[in-house]
């Protein structure tokens, strides 16, 4: 068992006094679930692309997900944040139907088409696979559509390269292209920025924001890091086995539960990335002037 699976209430700040005091609830706040409650009635939102109601999951004696409610609607970016071991990936696997919850249900209308970008897609060098053959694998698609999808995600140059030779950022863009080829209305991305450097990360979230705008996608993003992500989200859900708090990024960052999980300095995180870059780097690492620099997808 790796350490990320180790049982514990997951206080990354070593704030064990708080954890110990909060007997029934690991995040130790006074359960002001105001924002959660107003958005998530017991009945699923009929307009949602995907909904979770009361999803509960155990791993051995540890409850990794406790009574999770969640909706993702068209055109909104919902970000799931939480420390390692908070159950984010488990929740995503349940939403995707890879795992089944012990209690609760997933409501997914037949019209919902999911595009999935998995976490840590490390292609084994043992499997020879060009980007083109990967994008046509199991899909009825054309070379034209493949080129268009790669163009859209800014990875057109990789088409003849081996999948195992791509950089972290290129891999993510190719995976997003594969997801787009399925003509999704819901994109689910698990830690899309892992293995990508800081500016590459900003570019990646810009891309996700642009795709949302262009295709009117619902987007569910998973992240354990606070930088860049939150300002681009319409809604942030802070998960630590249960939903600690949720709402607009500004509200969540001021929330007591959020500060308790991520530390007081996290409340200032929105300020951290509001500074302006005067340039960015493209895929080849060349600096480029900023075009349309304002972060996309701010909550209105």
């Amino acid at each position: 068992m790796s350490s990320r699976d180790a049982p514990g209430t997951g206080s990354p700040n070593g704030n064990s006094a708080t954890d110990a005091a909060a007997a029934p609830c690991s995040c130790g706040h006074n359960h002001d679930h105001r924002q959660t409650d107003q958005q998530l009635a017991a009945e699923p939102d009929p307009g949602a692309l995907i909904s979770a109601r009361g999803v509960t999951m155990w791993r051995g004696s540890r409850e990794v997900l406790s009574d999770i409610n969640l909706d993702v609607r068209r055109g909104e970016i919902v970000t799931l944040i939480g420390p390692n071991g908070a159950g984010k990936t488990t929740l995503v696997r349940i939403l995707l139907g890879i795992e089944h919850p012990e209690r609760g249900r997933i409501i997914k209308p037949a019209s919902t088409r999911v595009g999935y970008v998995p976490q840590r897609f490390e292609v084994d060098g043992a499997i020879p696979m060009t980007v083109e053959s990967f994008l046509s694998l199991g899909e009825h698609t054309t070379l034209k559509a493949i080129k268009a999808a790669l163009e859209e995600t800014g990875a057109a140059k990789t088409i003849n390269q081996q999948l195992s030779k791509l950089s972290g950022g290129e891999t993510q863009r190719v995976l997003i292209a594969r997801a787009l080829l399925r003509k999704p209305n819901l994109l689910i991305l698990d830690e899309p920025a892992s293995g990508v450097d800081f500016t590459g990360e900003a570019d990646l979230y810009d891309l996700i924001g642009r795709l949302r705008d262009k295709h009117n996608l619902g987007v569910l993003l998973v992240s354990h890091d606070l930088h860049v992500v939150m300002a681009r989200s319409d809604r942030v859900i802070c998960l630590n086995a249960h939903v600690c708090c949720s709402g607009k990024p500004e509200d969540v960052s001021q929330h007591a539960a959020y500060a308790r999980i991520f530390g007081p300095q996290a409340a200032t995180v929105l300020g951290v990335y509001r500074h302006h870059h005067d340039h960015r780097h493209d895929l080849t690492g060349e600096p480029k002037p900023l075009a349309g620099a304002s972060p996309t997808g701010r909550g209105s």
Binding site: I98, P118, I127, L137
Partner: protein, 267 residues
């Protein structure tokens, strides 16, 4: 002056070429899923199958298939336990099946039994019935492999992505274990229990540096296996070395040259 080879040489050649074609795509999947040690364990369980077949007086091909499938079932259970890593569990089972198999065969047939033909095969003793097994069973194996090819490649690449895209991983996985068991049983006669996996894994290794896509790797692996079979049989006939090991020596030589060429080209 060229003399036409005798019938037993032709039978050996047809048997080994048939096996080369059947085994190549499966061998690629074994390599991609890092299953060569799993395959090794399944084939050694085949020795227990031989003992059971001899005891019950049933067709050995059939009893070896059964034993390999049973071993695959045990391995599936072992992969779910958390006490020791799968690698260690395989290390245990691998040796246990080999030791049990050899002991069981000796108990059934007495200590005078010639184990060598089971352990290393005897390609020149292939009968017409064996050829029916290879081409009849082989046709079924190739058909099922083609049918399951795309899900198997997607599952080898990334299981969660494939599952999220709607592939149920259980059926292709179970079917693959079954195909592997059949190939092991058929290949046992030609290269023997101990060298069966070489027939699957080595051509795939040889094909990897020269392949850009999974399909190309499977086809190239087949071509290289056929070349290895021809060279190996020639080596065996001209030097009196046993057939199965000669084929495996030829395959490994081809793989070494291919890997060397691949690493030189990459510079």
């Amino acid at each position: 002056m060229f003399d036409w080879p005798e019938p037993f040489v032709w039978r050996a050649l047809f048997a080994a070429v048939g096996l080369a074609i059947i085994a190549a795509p499966l061998g690629c999947i074994v390599v991609w899923r890092r299953m060569s040690y799993v395959g090794e364990t399944l084939s050694q369980a085949g020795l227990l199958g031989v003992a059971l077949g001899l005891a019950a007086n049933v067709d050995l091909t059939f009893s070896v298939i059964l034993a390999a499938i049973a071993a695959a079932g045990v391995l599936t259970l072992l992969s779910r336990q958390q006490m020791v890593p799968l690698d260690s569990a395989l290390g245990l089972m691998h040796h246990a099946t080999l030791a049990l198999g050899i002991a069981a065969i000796a108990l059934v047939k007495g200590p005078a039994i010639d184990l060598m033909s089971y352990l290393f095969g005897d390609v020149f003793a292939v009968t017409a019935t064996d050829l029916y097994w290879i081409y009849g069973g082989g046709a079924v194996v190739v058909a099922v492999t083609l049918y399951l090819w795309q899900p198997l490649v997607r599952l080898s690449l990334h299981e969660d992505l494939a599952t999220a895209e709607g592939i149920n991983p259980r059926l292709p996985r179970a079917a693959f274990d079954l195909l592997l068991a059949v190939v092991i049983a058929v290949a046992m006669k030609i290269v023997g229990i101990l060298l069966v996996m070489a027939f699957l894994v080595v051509p795939a290794v040889a094909a990897r540096p020269l392949s850009e896509t999974p399909e190309r790797m499977a086809v190239l692996a087949g071509a290289m296996a056929i070349l290895g079979v021809i060279l190996g049989l020639w080596l065996s006939l001209s030097s009196d070395a046993p057939g199965g090991p000669s084929i495996v020596i030829a395959l490994c030589t081809i793989a070494s040259i291919s890997l060397l060429a691949g690493s030189l080209r990459r510079r």
